[in-house]
């Protein structure tokens, strides 16, 4: 597991840095939004993400040049229309996003250190952070959690070098 995650993160990271910024649109956006809709269906039904209704949140992974633009309509996250400016923006590099996702680092800590930045309506960004923090992590399978942690640790090292 360790060796696998090491090479995935190293090779994947180098490759991603080269290729992804050249693409006009991140090809994973559709798949990612689909994944959000299935993983967060309960929360969506409970109205926990209603604050994103007709709002555009833009998440930028700085080193990979990935830009994810998400909005919400009805009970679903949807891709935000192109050309419309975002209401709220969050950006950081991939290692830091993974560190947050895997529970290694606290977003406020990264924010103090200027590794995570917020723009536009701060309340949207803050609420997103709080909602994600409150998600029940036990729903993510153990192996996936562990993999996420390993890749996050490895990527932190790769980026630091």
């Amino acid at each position: 597991m360790l060796a696998v995650s090491k090479s995935i993160s190293r090779i994947g990271y180098r490759f991603g840095c080269k290729i992804l910024p050249l693409l006009p649109k991140w090809p994973g956006e559709v798949a990612f939004i689909k994944l959000l809709n299935t993983q967060l269906s309960e929360e969506l039904e409970d109205g926990l993400f209603d604050f994103l209704d007709e709002q555009i949140l833009e998440v930028t992974v700085t080193d990979l040049g990935i830009r994810l633009r998400v909005s919400k309509r009805g009970d679903q996250f949807v891709r935000a229309p192109a050309g419309v400016p975002a209401d709220s923006t969050i950006s950081a590099n991939s290692a830091d996003f993974l560190a947050i996702a895997s529970g290694r680092e606290d977003p406020d800590t990264l924010f103090f250190q200027r590794r995570l930045s917020l723009g536009g309506q701060t309340e949207i960004g803050l609420t997103v952070k709080n909602r994600l923090d409150a998600l029940d992590r036990s729903r993510i399978p153990q192996w996936a959690q562990r993999g996420l942690e390993l890749i996050a640790a490895e990527l932190a090292a790769v980026v630091a070098n």
Binding site: F51, D106, F112, R114, T122, L126, D133
Partner: protein
């Protein structure tokens, strides 16, 4: 010494319990608590889950209802006390006198902790709250020096809880009007200092600018650390010099004082940060658990380990952690 830890969500509560919290404090998701941020805190369903997890692990649950009730909506604060009593919480943390009276009368079995927001800094003040409302514990304001804490502890008939770690307010606990001056909302009334809806971060030529309700309060150069966007921590031109006129972004850290606090008879150490993520809660709770265990074992022989200091300063607002008001020599 009890370690009292913050949780703004269920995963944070679990992180606190897993890493050695003796007690966890939470708030309901409205303005009855002083961390009233979008997406944070507990609705009834989650509060029940929190209680269940706390009971399974044999820890304590405190509910912070630590803002001041508004004249036209006192019922909401009363309802919050009723909900906490209904949960069978181990204590409620209150600041408002009217609410304390209500809790005493309606739920005589419910333990009351006096919030730091009530700003009781003298033995007679503590005694007043004890006689009137039967408070069991008081959280001491961070304005006090170690000597003052020791004197209070010697005189007090209630348990005392002292802040161990966390972002620092300007030391006007319960009395700060800066936030309402600029944004119209204050921690005591609305449960939030510098509400996010009034905050704007903007990258400009001179650096990262923070605005509060349109008022520029700080500008951070490329490699400067940022802090929470509160007026007290802004930089202003005073006497021709741009400086932190009121307070620098710093975090309080009283870990080095643990042996003295224990010797003084302080019953509990409180960690700040219900607005932070489970990752923060896990790291700081683990660190303080180890430190308190060490003090309990070694007494005065205790010293702060480098690894603890590193973890705390990494997670703190402002680059440095200081002893804050505990060692203000002018006190």
């Amino acid at each position: 010494m009890e370690l009292v830890c913050p949780a703004g969500s269920l995963p944070a509560l679990e992180a606190a319990v897993d890493n050695g919290a003796d007690a966890v404090y939470i708030g309901f998701n409205d303005e009855t608590n002083a961390r009233n941020f979008g997406g944070l805190n507990f609705n009834d369903k989650n509060a029940l889950r929190a209680l269940e997890r706390i009971r399974n692990r044999g820890r304590k649950l405190f509910v912070a209802i630590n803002t001041y009730a508004k004249p036209d909506s006192f019922a909401r604060w009363q309802a919050a006390v009723d909900r906490a009593a209904g949960l069978n919480a181990d204590a409620v943390i209150l600041a408002d006198i009217g609410l304390m009276g209500y809790a005493r009368e309606r739920h005589p079995e419910l333990a009351l902790h006096l919030s730091v927001q009530a700003s009781a800094t003298s033995a007679p003040a503590l005694e007043f709250y004890r006689q009137q409302f039967g408070i069991r514990r008081a959280v001491l304001p961070r304005v006090l020096s170690l000597k003052q804490v020791q004197q209070l502890a010697a005189a007090s008939k209630v348990e005392l809880e002292v802040f161990g770690f966390g972002s620092l307010c300007i030391m006007a606990e319960g009395r700060c009007h800066l936030s309402s001056y600029v944004t119209g909302e204050s921690p005591n009334q609305n449960g939030v200092c510098s509400p996010a809806k009034t905050v704007e971060w903007r990258n400009a030529a001179g650096g990262l600018e923070t605005r509060l309700n349109g008022v520029l309060i700080d500008r951070f150069a490329e490699n400067e650390n940022a802090g929470y966007p509160t007026l007290c921590k802004g930089r202003f031109i005073v006497d021709g010099k741009r400086q932190h006129a009121l307070e620098e972004p710093t975090s309080l850290n009283s870990m080095a004082l643990l042996p003295e606090l224990k010797a003084a008879g302080i019953q509990a150490i409180k960690l700040e940060g219900r607005q932070r993520s489970p990752a923060y809660v896990a790291q700081i709770v683990r660190t303080w658990r180890e430190a308190i265990d060490e003090v309990l074992q070694r007494g005065a022989d205790f010293s702060v380990k480098d690894s603890w200091r590193d973890t705390l300063s990494k997670n703190s607002e402002g680059k440095q952690t200081t002893l804050g008001a505990y060692d203000r020599p002018w006190q």
